[in-house]
């Protein structure tokens, strides 16, 4: 009896030891991921003196909100926001349109050898950006007699097609319940009606997920917008911000940290709002793929 009780007790203490270790691990994760964000946020409201002090000041005595104003005036951030908004909305919209229509065609429409076309789309995934940037720059600098350098369509168009989205939506359309689709067809539903009234509402979670993944990618896209624009007024946020920091000169960290906040704040807001959708969507996309 006594020994059994001792075993039970030691189990309990061992259990709570691991439990404690587990919670320490959770705290560690939150600190390691959160510290850079904390550093950025506090840095954005510190004075120069407070920044150039060691050991560091964790919370500024008197928050310098002017840093945000200085940052906003250091570069045409209103243009950067507008440009990013236009290229993101345009890019996400076109990707969603292309993915939906292509997936619908591949699943619900007959066409000879349509699987070959699907493979042709998927094969494009193997061609990396760095092979395409130089030729695409050359193509767009004289696109049917016009230069598309420093234009919205130049930033958007090379990223308007999607193989990943087509794949994701094709899988989703294939798993829609038979009966509903058949019933719609018996009711004499045409293809556009079927797509708009039946397929899209049922596939909404996947559409939202893909839309969010696409939104994050477009908002943060860096290499292509950097290459295809060379004027301040056409820069996107991600590209524009990188000109505020130069490793070879002394940086005024306060306003620069405020400026990085301009770039990441909208995405953090979206993430807080749609966190579950994004994580589950990315998990599903990756594990099914």
């Amino acid at each position: 009896m006594a020994s059994a009780q001792r075993v039970w007790v030691s189990h309990r203490t061992r259990d709570s030891f691991w439990r404690l270790l587990g919670y320490l691990g959770l705290v560690l994760i939150i600190v390691v991921v959160g510290a850079p964000i904390f550093w950025m946020l506090t840095g954005s409201i510190k004075t120069n003196q407070e920044i150039y002090t060691f050991p560091p000041i964790w919370w500024p005595e008197d928050p310098v909100w002017e840093n945000y104003k200085t940052a906003w005036n250091a570069a045409p951030f209103d243009r950067f926001y507008l440009n990013t908004l236009i290229t993101t909305v345009g890019g996400v919209g076109l990707e969603l349109l292309n993915a939906t229509l292509s997936a619908y065609a591949l699943v619900f429409l007959r066409f000879p050898k349509k699987n070959l076309i699907f493979i042709l789309l998927l094969a494009a995934l193997m061609i990396p950006t760095q092979v395409t940037i130089l030729p695409n720059y050359i193509t767009l600098s004289d696109f049917f007699g016009q230069s598309w350098i420093n234009t919205y369509q130049g930033i958007i168009l090379p990223g308007a097609s999607t193989a990943f989205g087509t794949f994701l939506l094709r899988q989703a359309f294939l798993s829609l319940p038979h009966e509903v689709l058949d019933a719609a067809k018996v009711d004499g539903c045409g293809h556009l009606r079927l797509l708009w009234d039946v397929v899209l509402p049922m596939a909404r979670p996947v559409l939202v997920t893909f839309g969010l993944i696409s939104l994050v990618a477009k908002w943060n896209d860096y290499l292509w917008p950097l290459v295809v624009t060379n004027q301040d007024r056409m820069r996107t946020l991600a590209v524009g911000i990188s000109y505020l920091y130069n490793p070879e000169t002394i940086t005024r960290w306060g306003p620069v940290m405020a400026a990085t906040f301009f770039v990441i704040a909208p995405l953090i807001a979206i993430y807080i709002w749609a966190q579950r959708h994004i994580i589950e969507g990315i998990t599903a996309g990756a594990t099914k793929g």
Binding site: L120, V131, L134, L157, Y222, V227
Partner: protein, 324 residues
Amino acid sequence: MLGEEMQSGSTVPLVAGERAGATVRGATRAKPRKWPLREWLLFLLFIGPNVILFGIFSYWPMIYSAYLSTRRWDMISPVKVDVGLDNYRYLLSDDTFQKVLWNSLYFAVGAVGGSLILGLAAALLLNQRLRGRDGARAVIFMPTLLSGAAIGIVWAYIFDPRYGLLRTVLNVFRIPSPDWLGDPTWAMPAVIIVYIWKNVGFTTVIYLAGLQAIPRDLYEAARVDGAGPFWRFRSVTLPMLSPITFFLVVTSILSSFQAFDIINVMTRGGPVDATNNLIYYVYQQGFVAFNAGRAAAASIVLFVAMLIVTLLQLRYSERRVHYG
């Protein structure tokens, strides 16, 4: 005709039965229609833009890069001089390019190894029944959504050898801070740390999904066989996760080859080419040195490297399917 199809589709319902022949999952129970031309045209209309865009902006660039890799061209002059394989020969003999290849490998091993090990550790932790684990999962995933350019700048401030956050942390352990971004030895570890910080949430979330898919009875069986926690991890968890590990290794290697924003912002490939990787080299040769031929040749080298990784994956996954 197409317009008619679209109109009839969106407003007037078609005659019942006519559409019933359309195949779902290749089901061919209804009578095949004699005249599927309208459906073919609709198919082309739906999928055409996607295919055409890929043609212009993915397939054509591939061909054009292969062509440019045999030329010498400054991207301005009307003449593209045929130099045969000189660009490739140049790359093979160029010390900088060899360093670039080495850097890409270094970066891939460090970034992929780091995010896999830390990601698995975090996933194992988040798989325990702990209060607040969903919150921690949300937190660890967040950096994957943030702009690499912005994150790079924030970390440049953290790495500041005199006033940075990392100096404070190292100071606790009485370790002097290296001049992270200014020292050729430490610049690469620095960008790898940032890359891991930004991407470990992805491997964590994928591993977590994998852990949750492992059947409980396997653990029960191992427990009955007397396996302790460590042995259960070795004999159940790791083998069951191996397809996911493989998937993560491949996708992470491929994306590590494309790491550009962090490097361009934090180090511009320096100091002394210490962080100059393949994609940075392509950018540098093409858009800074205006040497289209060399940039194209380097991009083809990168493409071949990524193709090998992808083909290895295809081969392996096929084997897995066949031999269980």
